[in-house]
């Protein structure tokens, strides 16, 4: 990079950056709508010298701007302009200059406004086109190979994978479950009833009083005594039946 104006591409001078004519928004559409979630949740916690909400910008229209900086001439000035030749020369120039500046200002403001509107239109159109292109890409159709090879699977994927039970099927299933439950309950009840009956039948032989107990004891001992006597009697009778009786002499050792 060279020195001096070489820095600026060899230009003899560099113009200052252009000033923006419309610093303020010039129409309502330029101000974004207030978002409900914006700002502070609680007004008590807003820091000092700040606002809970963004400061609202004043809209300055083209007419207001012209009215402020290049207003139409009043009656006195209009009269002066009508008798321009009667005035001294320097005053004539001064008035003419003022008029020219005012006219240029009005023209510039109007031009700028139309330019801004035009640019806005172009930007909106561009944005719309970009969005449309994006949408076209997203909705672009599949290749014929993809479309023709797997129509069934695509169809399956677009539908629920499983068919839910119909009302009739649900009713059948409910009835089946109810029947199962009743059957199970019946089986349980039958089993319990059988157990109770068995207990009831066997309760005849249960000893529940003192007399029953005595009776049972006596019976048991009597039965045992009878059995012992029977056994001894049978053994004796058998021994006696043997003829000759068995000698009780021990065998000689061989």
């Amino acid at each position: 990079m060279g020195k001096g104006n070489l820095k600026f591409g060899g230009k003899s001078g560099v113009l200052p950056p252009t000033r923006i004519i419309f610093k303020q928004p010039y129409k309502q559409a330029q101000i974004p709508a207030r978002v409900a979630e914006e700002g502070y949740a609680d007004d008590r916690f807003v820091p000092k010298h700040t606002s809970a909400w963004p400061k609202e910008k004043k809209i300055v229209s083209v007419d207001e701007k012209i009215q402020k900086y290049a207003p139409a001439n009043g009656a006195a000035k209009a009269a002066k302009l009508a008798n321009l030749h009667s005035l001294p020369e320097h005053e004539q120039w001064k008035l003419k200059n003022t008029e020219v500046r005012k006219e240029y200002y009005r023209h510039a403001v109007k031009e700028e406004f139309s330019k801004l509107e035009r640019e806005e239109k172009i930007a909106a159109h561009k944005q719309k086109r970009v969005e449309q292109l994006k949408l076209n890409k997203e909705n672009s159709e599949d290749s014929p190979a993809a479309l023709l090879t797997l129509p069934t699977i695509d169809n399956i994927l677009n539908q629920p994978l499983m068919r839910q039970r119909t009302a009739a099927e649900n009713a059948t299933l409910k009835a089946k479950r109810e029947a199962n439950r009743l059957h199970h309950n019946l089986q349980t009840a039958e089993y319990r009833a059988q157990k109770l009956l068995r207990l009831y039948n066997s309760s005849d032989s249960f000893i529940v009083t003192a007399e029953d107990l005595d009776l049972a004891i006596n019976k048991a001992f009597e039965e045992d005594a009878n059995l012992v006597s029977n056994l001894t009697h049978s053994i004796n009778s058998r021994l006696n039946a043997l003829n000759p009786p068995i000698s009780m002499t021990p065998c000689r050792a061989i």
């Binding site: 890409k137 997203e138 672009s140 993809a146 699977i153 399956i156 994978l161 039970r165």
Partner: protein
Amino acid sequence: MSLVALGHVCAHLQNVTRVNLGLTSVPLTKLHLELAANLYQEGFISSIQRGDIQGPDAIPVEITPDNVSTRRLWLGLKYRNGHSVIKNMHLVSKPSRRMNLDEEEIKALAMGRQVRIISPLQPAEAMFVRDNRTKKLVELRTAARKNMSGEVLCRVSAQ
């Protein structure tokens, strides 16, 4: 949605191709069906059939709550010159490390650049992306063409 089941499917397909099976089955879900359809489109498998744990259906069977647990997806595996077409298949996005890519990253990956830890797409390789908007599984190049963003689920490479 967990990717564990998809990880099992990837591992299963890789394993069965290494023992030269002709037909295998995976659980029947929408995601697995989408993956199978994409594998079929890209030429990695030869057939897709619905069936149950016994085998492919001879006649179409409707999926109901009574038989849903036994339904399977039967995939025909492809071999060429005695070698399996599928060489490697594994998850890219894992339950412990999700890989959600935006449109630009998807395009970069499809163009053969490395994106984060995802190595570039090689020839004879396919990656499958689940679109954020439609939740459909699409191949990476299709996703790049359609300006999609989404999660890169798995990649499969041929011999």
